[in-house]
């Protein structure tokens, strides 16, 4: 188990949980999104190999309507 923060919300995840697993959990794997892991942008190719650990901070963003 590990506690992480995703978009400001605290959640618990299993150990050996990758960013790809996180995206699957939130049904975002096929969406146009970008991810920051502790303030650093994670390139898409690294989603599978980037594992999450305790106290990690994740930001997942997408496009919304704007002027």
């Amino acid at each position: 188990m590990a506690k992480i923060q995703i978009n400001g919300k605290k959640i618990s995840i299993k150990s050996n949980f990758s960013i790809q697993d996180l995206l699957k959990k939130y049904k975002l794997a096929d969406k146009k999104i970008a991810i920051e892991h502790n303030g650093t942008i994670v390139p898409k190719i690294n989603y599978k190999k980037k594992y999450l650990k305790n106290n990690d901070k994740i930001e997942i963003v997408h496009f919304i309507g704007g002027g």
Partner: protein, 257 residues
């Protein structure tokens, strides 16, 4: 005759109207208004995904970035750091290099912070971005942005979302005359005729959001803007008549009975 297309950072656009995707009542309305506007480029904002509601529809369910050019913007950013972070994320999302930079300085007027805007432009250009820059209508600062490598200069007509129209045509004209990159009036356009006036001044395009989204009938207003921009452009290309202080009869005097 050569086709009169708008060219920004090497990209040709069929329409000189760029529309925002904010403030609409619903996504279907947004999609219909964009279609009616004829725009081939729309601005979009970058925000957190709502992780609590996985089934809630999102913008890209209704507007396909493969069919229309997304122009990621930095609306809501109040310093260079926030703006750079937003645009780097936007680039990661889908390879977008053409972006709209908007660094705000004041919550009440949403007036651009030009010091942070110039700083951000410099960094973004260095990182390979093509930057369309929302800016004040000061000709010297507009020139500075061009010197820093901005791909388009986007002065405000009046404050964002105010609908006050073109408040300083002289400054806009000065910017248009001096700029070698496209000048696109951004912010403050209130109604279709404002867009026509901006185009008649010689702007290369206009960016409109609130005037369409907050009209009583947004889809009809989107169509009005489409026509207004075309009319204004044609009027600019045609070249208006000279203004005279006295009347000049339209019918000949000769042969008068």
């Amino acid at each position: 005759m050569k086709k009169d297309n708008l060219k920004i950072a090497g990209k040709f656009l069929k329409s000189r109207l760029i529309v925002g995707t904010g403030k609409y009542k619903s996504f279907p309305e947004t999609a219909k208004a964009i279609k009616a506007s004829g725009a081939d480029m729309v601005t979009v904002a970058v925000r957190r995904v709502n992780i609590l509601d996985k089934k809630k529809p999102i913008l890209t369910d209704y507007i396909n970035p493969k069919k229309i050019i997304f122009l990621p913007n930095t609306a809501g950013c109040f310093n260079s750091e926030e703006a750079l972070r937003t645009l780097r994320l936007a680039r990661e999302m889908g390879g977008w290099k053409l972006v709209k930079l908007e660094v705000l300085g004041d919550k009440k007027t949403l007036y651009p912070n030009m010091i942070e805007t110039i700083k951000s432009t410099k960094t973004l250009v260095k990182e390979g971005f093509k930057v369309m820059v929302y800016c004040s209508d000061d000709p010297l600062l507009a020139k500075k942005l061009e010197d820093e490598g901005a791909s388009a200069i986007m002065p405000l007509a009046s404050p964002i979302g105010s609908g006050l129209g073109l408040q300083n045509k002289i400054n806009l004209s000065l910017i248009i005359k001096q700029s070698k990159v496209p000048v696109i009036v951004d912010a403050g356009i209130g109604t279709a005729s404002d867009a026509t006036i901006a185009m008649e001044l010689g702007c290369e395009g206009v960016l409109v959001n609130s005037a369409i989204a907050h009209a009583n009938k947004p889809i009809l207003m989107a169509k009005a803007f489409k026509d207004a921009v075309v009319s204004g452009r044609n009027s600019y290309l045609a070249g208006r008549m000279k203004k005279n202080y006295f009347a000049s009869p339209s019918s000949p005097i000769k042969g008068l009975i």
